[in-house]
Symmetry: C2
Subunit: 217 residues, 2 copies
DNA sequence: GCGCATATTAAATAAATGTTTGATGTAGGT
DNA sequence: ACCTACATCAAACATTTATTTAATATGCGC
């Protein structure tokens, strides 16, 4: 936790020096603004103001604002893939793996509620090459992981057969995402606050729904 | 279907005349732009260009751009509530009601993929009074409807007990929403197109997941 | 202390944003 | 024909946007 209240970015191994330090401050500032606003709207001026850097440093460090956003995406999604690999390494059964995966995704939305929107926007604006690269860093490997998990579950008699991996990918993401996109609804319409207890209860609810929903007939 | 390819707005009973006709053209133009872009980004100039109206007509007809957006929200969400009431009137059992409800929500996302985002943005920007009014047109009555459906299902032994209505509301919305927010992923990462067959299969998948997920132990 | 690549700056740029102005057009009633 | 309320218009408004320029500062090897 920084003073901004936003969770930290996935750590960079080394301590950056020179322009790399400014580069890092710009990434962190963007993250903090996106996090606190629950949106992807922040001007270069705002980002640089928070990073205590001159606006021209965006071009100097990244080339453009869009390239800064892409760097932020790749930084975060890389940590998602690390997490999936770590989970695989635990050697758990399909149900427990899925339950922890749901908890992991919810945790990611707590930390980075804006990433999917950002990915979406960049994907729509991108040319064919950039779109392919963005797909490769997150959507494709994640669905592939889901496909393997579903197959393993069916094999062991834990999950029912015939569940489409693509639809399942969208279901899992959608279930977890909406909760955090819609925090204004939670507050204004339902008078609830997004605290740790609520997050934990939501994880339980979602994991129950998915695991029961996948149970064999 | 209009020439734009976008589904029509929920129909206004009467044929508008005078400035009301311009008002309607502005609403339709905004809808068509939002629909085709799958986003809520459209300048006043773009909206008025498509509506063949002068930019000053936004102030004249609505007072401001934000008021135009609120009018669009209220127009669409009103049709959602009509749909829920119609479904209640059919006197179906809890499972079939829920199955048709899922199909109905997916249908709404096909027609108005941008409404929830729009509601979200307006809710975040709104003052307390406006936020309360926006909550009242959609989130609150919809969750209340979900609560009654869950209670009826438990009563009749169709659903398991203890499912939180607020979480369930977010689950249902999230499941259906993500599919349409993420159409760029569907295309770029998975090479699939969002046609009628896919929508139908998605409805089936989602209804199965939710209905199985709610089944008693 | 000099020289040079790296890093940072203030200021200007052009384009786009939502809003506002005041003039102009257009019906319909009397 | 004349008035009036309604509807529309082109043009200017003040901000804000991302980007770019050219000048300057900084630190490090020698």
């Amino acid at each position: 936790m920084t003073v901004s209240g936003a969770p930290p970015l996935p750590s960079l191994g080394t301590d950056p020096t020179g322009a790399d330090a400014t580069r890092e401050r710009l990434l962190v500032a963007t993250h903090e603004l996106f996090y606190s606003r629950r949106s992807t709207v922040a001007s270069v001026a705002e980002i640089c103001g928070r990073a205590e850097a001159n606006v021209a440093m965006v071009k100097y460090c990244f080339g453009s604002k869009d390239a800064l956003l892409d760097a932020l995406i790749e930084r975060i999604t890389a940590s998602f893939q690390d997490e999936l690999e770590r989970l695989d390494g635990l050697g758990l059964g399909p149900e427990e793996t899925l339950r922890r995966h749901v908890a992991g995704i919810v945790g990611n939305y707590v930390r980075y509620p804006y990433v999917n929107r950002l990915l979406n926007e960049r994907l729509m604006a991108a040319d064919a090459d950039a779109a392919a690269r963005l797909s490769e860093v997150f959507a494709r490997p994640t669905r592939e992981w889901h496909r393997r998990l579903l197959a393993r579950g069916v094999e062991q008699g834990a999950f029912r057969d015939g569940v489409d991996p693509t639809f399942f990918f969208f279901s899992i993401m959608g279930l977890c995402e909406f909760m955090f996109l819609a925090t204004p609804w939670l507050q204004h319409a339902f008078g609830e606050a997004l605290d740790d207890t609520l997050v934990e209860r939501f994880v339980q609810h979602t994991a129950d729904l998915v695991l029961t929903g996948l149970a064999p007939a």
